[in-house]
């Protein structure tokens, strides 16, 4: 199945493959398809245009160009395939050995390869063609003399990686011999990048052969490669354009097909392929409405009503967020907790408008300070002179531009959002650095992100976001990459901003302890749905939904000697989002599930203080 799927999913791959098979067949059979010989000179039939007898016409000596063209293609392709296969053989052998043996031998190998690699490939081929005299043999020798090096480096790198894989380590531990391991365990795993390299080496060699033919170092006469034919045709191209046009077209389309095949294969085997396509940068802006100050009084900062996000994927529609409703007050921190894959980050990104444009379907209502934000959104957010949304991402290194000094990234936001001059922005940036607790502000200002520690980077990110003077901050796992002490400091900072600036914080986390310790309210997300929400203290003391209970029970407790506190693991695993049924998504894992839980949507049960849970069991317990 894995073999046939890529062919179906990529028409480009299929087309180029079929085209190449066609060219190869013609190159093999071409000479038999015509009664003429490629070397037979007939001076009565010179320079004929393409016609019935001679489909490609004849040349200045009356030789049939049809057989000559396909014979030429055969020579060109032979050179290409031979060079590529020899490169492959040498590369696999030497690179594989160097990678497998490692140590001193590998170092020596890499040093010598580094020296050879510096020699321009094309000059080696040229020198060889001059020394040995032009010919198929010297071409192939020249091309493979240093041509195997990139392949060997590739294989060596892959072998090094594969050697660390568990299954290879296991095979070694089980006492399998090195050659067996290399052949059976490592080789199959290095094949895909090698295959791509191979597909791209063939056109390179074909190209080089034509190039050499053109500067007079091609296959010697009377044999003719495509390069030779093009060179000959070029001389007469003014009078007999087809003599140039036909071999040139064959050569170019073959090269194009090989390159397309290589590119498509590379994209296909690229591990990044599964990632969502990046958001295209299209002009257009989000309307964050101007809100008169009186309207904001007392109103919630953010309200989501029946928000749904679905992604269109090759497997079908993936419901990531299902009818989520929530509210967030100014100066409040709402924690959104759930396992990975529960849709927490998607929800955060959809509010700020950063979902991939292609393939995301968003519905529902999103009110920011009482005004509706349209979802999904386009382009850079137009936040000038308006209440602001800000978002902090999980990976502090990834969220800073690696090629811009940290301070400049803050100053830039100030210039753009508050219309400050650059000089004023710099002072203000240093100020913000102080506010987020950076000690040496000037040093940090001029440092590039990679020169800062993880905690510092995240502080810089906060400074960038504060530069926007936001009303709402969405913090997507802002402390996950940090150590515990830094975590606490960052959260203390958030709490401070909450009170001093009246900032509303949507704190997305999978860490229940953090949510318990810092959030005012908590919403528990399971499979894209909120299953329980309430004030932090209440919810953690008296969890009602079986999922929340399970989550809390799976936190290790310090007094584990007490048999009541034995560690508990939720049975089963999160559901496959493609096959959700109508009812409660947690039902299959639920210890108290009723038979009808699967089929009927569970009701919301309201408890005290805005504590709510969505569960039949909770409802029935309440009725008892």
């Amino acid at each position: 199945m894995a073999g046939s799927r890529p062919l179906k999913s990529s028409p480009l791959l299929l087309t180029s493959l079929l085209f190449l098979i066609g060219i190869l067949t013609l190159a093999m059979l071409g000479p038999w398809l015509s009664p003429f010989s490629p070397y037979e000179i007939d001076l009565t039939q010179t320079n004929l245009p393409p016609g019935l007898a001679h489909p490609f016409g004849t040349d200045a000596l009356g030789r049939d160009l049809f057989v000559r063209a396909w014979g030429g293609a055969r020579i060109s392709l032979f050179v290409g395939f031979a060079a590529a296969l020899i490169d492959l053989g040498l590369g696999l052998m030497l690179g594989g050995l160097a990678g497998y043996i490692g140590g001193k031998w590998d170092t020596a190998f890499m040093r010598s390869v580094e020296v050879l690699y510096g020699i321009p490939y094309i000059m080696v081929v040229l020198l060889l063609a001059v020394i040995l005299g032009p010919g198929v043999f010297s071409l192939i020798v020249g091309m493979t003399l240093t041509g195997w090096i990139p392949m060997a480096r590739l294989v060596r790198g892959e072998v090094f990686r594969a050697k660390e894989e568990d299954f290879v380590l296991a095979a070694t531990a089980m006492g399998q011999g090195p050659f067996r391991i290399l052949l059976w365990h490592i080789l199959p795993n290095v094949m895909s990048p090698v295959l791509v390299a191979l597909t791209l080496t063939i056109p390179q060699a074909v190209f080089l052969e034509a190039f050499l033919a053109f500067i007079g170092l091609g296959v010697p006469l009377p044999r003719a490669s495509l390069g030779t034919l093009i060179t000959e045709g070029a001389r007469e191209s003014w009078y007999y354009p087809w003599q140039l046009f036909i071999p040139a077209t064959i050569l170019c389309s073959t090269l194009l097909a090989f390159n397309t095949l290589g590119d498509t294969l590379r994209d296909m085997l690229d591990p990044k392929r599964g990632e969502p396509a990046p958001r295209p940068l299209v002009r257009g802006s989000v309307n964050i409405p101007e809100i008169p100050p009186e309207k904001t009084l007392g109103a919630p900062l953010l309200t989501l009503e029946q928000a749904c996000v679905r992604f269109l994927t090759p497997r079908g529609e993936l419901p990531a967020i299902r009818e989520v409703s929530l509210t967030l007050q100014p100066g409040e921190m709402l924690a959104l907790v759930g396992e990975s894959g529960s849709g927490k980050s998607t929800l955060g990104r959809s509010i700020v408008g950063l979902l991939p444009k292609k393939g995301s379907l968003v519905s529902g209502k999103c009110l920011f300070m009482g005004q509706e934000l349209r979802l999904p959104r386009l382009g850079p957010l137009d936040q000038l002179g308006k209440p602001k949304l800000a978002m902090v991402f999980q990976n502090p290194l990834g969220s800073l531009n690696p090629t811009m000094q940290a301070g400049k990234q803050v100053a830039e936001a100030l210039v753009s959002a508050r219309m400050l001059s650059w000089a004023a922005a710099k002072d203000e940036a240093l100020h913000l650095f102080k506010e987020v607790g950076i000690q040496n502000q000037r040093r940090c200002f001029f440092a590039y992100p990679h020169e800062l520690s993880g905690g510092m980077r995240q502080r810089v990110v906060f400074a960038v976001m504060l530069a926007l003077s936001p009303s709402l901050l969405i913090a997507d796992e802002p402390t996950t990459a940090l150590d515990v002490a830094t975590q606490a400091r960052i959260l203390a900072l958030l709490t401070k901003l909450k009170t001093t600036r009246g900032l509303g914080v949507l704190f997305i986390t999978h860490n229940l302890a953090l949510a318990k310790g810092w959030a005012d309210r908590v919403s528990v997300l399971y499979a894209g749905e909120i299953v329980e929400e309430g004030p932090s203290r209440r919810l953690f003391q008296d969890p009602r939904h079986p999922y929340t209970k399970g989550l809390l029970d799976s936190i290790p407790k310090l007094d584990a000697d007490n048999p009541d506190n034995a560690l508990f693991a939720l049975p089963g695993s999160p559901p496959d989002p493609y096959t959700l049924h109508k009812g409660c998504a947690f039902a299959p894992r639920c210890p108290v599930a009723r038979p009808y839980c699967k089929d009927e949507p569970a009701p919301w049960v309201t408890l005290e203080d805005g504590h709510r849970a969505r569960c039949f069991a909770v409802k029935e317990a309440l009725l008892l």
Binding site: V115, G118, P120, V130, P280, S399, M404, H450, L468
Partner: protein, 323 residues
């Protein structure tokens, strides 16, 4: 003003060592090329003076003149000595003609052509790559991607013939060949720029797509930056780094491309002389020029590598990428 950093002295010492290592590797590469060429010259069938018309006495004098009567190792030392003084040898066929003469004559022309091609390639490549990357999977992307694929698949000599035919013969917009006047430079430079431009476009497109996935672009979006600022400072500046790795191979592509382009457009540059000496089978001239080209490219790639280290703040100079 950049504040002093305590780590600086340690870092720069490390990079000096790396630089030293790189120089050693480069010298070793040059030595391999020189040795290879020297041995190759002995392998060439016949001997430049084996022409029967040359009398034994004259032949002996010629041998003495060129040092061919000495033992092989002395010839080798002499050859390396000459190379290190940047003397790339003489033609044994046309007496009095040396590689250095030809270089002095043709290299400035080739360098000018190469520079124009480089500028054009950067312009076209950046434009096409950026358009394609920003309109991922849109119509513009498909056209640009196809053009770029064509650009790397059509050999430069076919393009040259095509452009010459269409723009010079048929339309008469440009001179068919030659190097007189600014307008004559356009077609050769354009042809020479196509392959590097297409490669830049492909690299830049892939790199932009990669950059657009990064969180720092989302951060920049949230900042509400102006389009141009987002594009130039956040997207292009980061995407361009991966294109820099192509600068070395680009120099090679432009140089080797110049061989055929100069021949087709009759540009009096080094490349044309080089191809001519190949046609003439003037072996010593060919070998000398080849060594010159190889040395030029090796040094250029070395310089590009160093420049790359300096341009990417994440890479501590000369190769080591910080994790």
């Amino acid at each position: 003003m950049r504040p002093a950093r305590s780590k600086v002295s340690l870092q720069s010492r490390g990079s000096l060592w790396r630089l030293f290592g790189r120089v050693i590797v480069m010298l070793a590469t040059l030595w391999v090329v020189a040795t290879f060429t020297f041995l190759g010259m002995r392998l060439i069938p016949g001997d430049p003076f084996s022409d029967p018309k040359v009398t034994p006495q004259v032949r002996e004098n010629l041998y003495r003149k060129y040092g061919l009567d000495k033992p092989l190792y002395k010839q080798y030392v002499r050859y390396l000595g000459n190379l290190s003084r940047l003397d790339f040898g003489v033609s044994y066929v046309q007496l009095g003609r040396s590689v250095n003469d030809i270089i002095a004559q043709g290299f400035p022309v080739s360098a000018e052509l190469g520079l124009w091609a480089l500028l054009l390639a950067l312009f076209w490549g950046t434009l096409l790559g950026t358009l394609a990357g920003l309109h991922h999977e849109g119509r513009i992307d498909r056209y640009a991607t196809f053009l770029a694929a064509l650009g790397v698949s059509v050999p430069s000599f076919i393009l040259a013939l095509f452009f010459q035919h269409v723009f010079a013969f048929r339309l008469g917009l440009f001179p068919v060949a030659g190097w007189e006047g600014g307008i004559a430079r356009f077609l050769p430079a354009l042809t020479l720029s196509i392959l590097p431009a297409a490669t830049i476009a492909r690299l830049l497109r892939a790199s932009i797509l990669d950059v657009l996935r990064q969180d720092y672009i989302q951060t920049a979006r949230i900042k509400g930056l102006a389009h141009t600022r987002l594009l130039v400072h956040h997207i292009l500046r980061n995407a361009a780094l991966s294109v820099l790795t192509y600068l070395g191979p680009m120099v090679v592509n432009i140089t080797t491309g110049s061989f055929v382009i100069e021949t087709i457009f009759n540009v009096p540059g080094l490349g044309k002389h080089y191809v001519q000496s190949i046609y003439d089978r003037d072996y010593t001239l060919v070998m000398g020029t080849t060594v010159f080209y190889a040395a030029l490219l090796i040094v250029a790639m070395f310089l590009v590598d160093i420049a790359y280290g300096l341009l990417d703040p994440r890479i501590r100079a000369f190769g080591a990428k910080e994790r």
